[in-house]
């Protein structure tokens, strides 16, 4: 009798007692009963101690474990000493700093709160008015200026004769304000 469907169920059950259906099937199926017995044998094989287990030098293994633990403890001890030394140095530094005169404490100055922004009120634009001028007034003012600052007499520029009778150098001097003339 071949019962592939039961194989999985038998293999999944941890003993026939766990699965009543499996137990009932095993009671009437010789093939599955053999399969279950073989599984039990396999489990027994797995539980058996391998021959090498008797040949191992367990003492050497324990020594190796112990020496690694001791080494690790030493490293941890050195690290602890270093950490302690570092903390002492740090503590001394902190003590030095704490003995130093304290810097003046900066006090916060309370500034007046800025006023809320208000839209400035601009004065009304002045209306430009052009004064009424007459052309006569301008002329009168010009005459007044001329009378007050009379123009100096025009001096003819000096002439410098050269060896060539056709060429004469005229020395012209210009002062500021004369450019308009």
């Amino acid at each position: 009798m071949n019962c592939p469907d039961w194989e999985e169920r038998i293999a999944a059950a941890d003993g026939a007692a766990e699965d009543a259906g499996v137990a009932a099937h095993l009671a009437r199926c010789a093939s599955c009963a053999r399969f279950a017995a073989a599984l039990a044998e396999d489990a027994e094989r797995l539980r058996a101690e391998p021959p090498e287990a008797a040949e191992v030098d367990y003492r050497a293994m324990r020594c190796a474990v112990r020496s690694q633990i001791v080494r690790r403890r030493r490293v941890r001890g050195v690290a602890a000493v270093l950490a302690l030394a570092a903390s002492i140095v740090l503590a001394v530094d902190v003590a030095k700093v704490s003995k130093a005169p304290l810097l003046p404490v900066v006090q916060a100055i309370r500034l007046p709160e800025p006023p809320l922004y208000q839209t400035p009120t601009y004065p009304a634009k002045p209306v430009r008015s052009r004064p009424a001028t007459s052309p006569n007034l301008d002329r009168q003012f010009e005459a007044f200026l001329r009378a007050r600052n009379p123009r100096p007499e025009a001096v003819p520029p000096p002439r410098i004769p050269t060896a060539n009778p056709n060429v004469t150098i005229i020395w012209m001097e210009e002062t500021q304000g004369d450019s308009r003339e």
Partner: protein
């Protein structure tokens, strides 16, 4: 670091002393479990050298994490779970899983060149068992060994392997069937 007191030779007493840093107590705990852990590691890795490394690593982890073990009852399953994971770590470290491919030819059925008569019966059976285990995927092998060999409950196996109980049940079932088929072939040939 003295010897454990006469009343404290129980596992819980040794654990207590070991937690306080007593190396002798720790060593006594190791003595109690070393053989079982080595055998488990050998079943997992298939090689004695790897099994020794895994067992050593297991006991180093015991020292490092001894405070995690709550009671003496949990020490055995705890060590088994740690050993299986140490085996898996060793396999990963070596860049190839020794747990799947066995030494050449070991996972195959023996041919004519292998002469079973020249091997002791126990050794032969062991070689077959190892070859059969080598055909299993790593997690299935680990689940099967923790369940069948170490007697852990499904929940404990699931915790050890970081899987769900449903997955572990399925893994154990598959592993049992595969191993049975492997031995079935052997029996047919033998």
């Amino acid at each position: 670091m003295g010897q454990p007191a006469a009343g404290e030779t129980s596992e819980s007493g040794l654990l207590r002393l070991a937690r306080r840093g007593d190396l002798d107590a720790l060593e006594q705990l190791i003595v109690r479990h070393e053989r079982r852990i080595f055998a488990l590691a050998l079943r997992m890795t298939g090689r004695a050298a790897d099994a020794q490394d895994a067992a050593q690593e297991t006991f180093l982890r015991l020292h490092r994490r001894i405070r995690e073990i709550e009671t003496e009852r949990s020490l055995g399953p705890w060590l088994s779970a740690v050993a299986v994971n140490a085996c898996r770590d060793i396999g990963r470290q070596r860049r190839r899983s020794r747990l799947v491919p066995m030494p050449a030819g070991a996972a195959e059925l023996p041919g004519l060149e292998a002469d079973p008569e020249r091997l002791a019966a126990a050794r032969e059976s062991e070689a077959w068992l190892r070859a059969g285990l080598a055909t299993l995927p790593e997690k299935e092998r680990a689940a099967l060994l923790l369940r069948e060999r170490e007697g852990l409950t499904t929940a404990e196996v699931a915790r050890a392997l970081g899987s769900s109980e449903v997955t572990v049940r399925s893994q154990i079932c598959n592993a049992r069937i595969k191993l049975r088929r492997f031995f079935g072939k052997r029996e047919e040939l033998g």
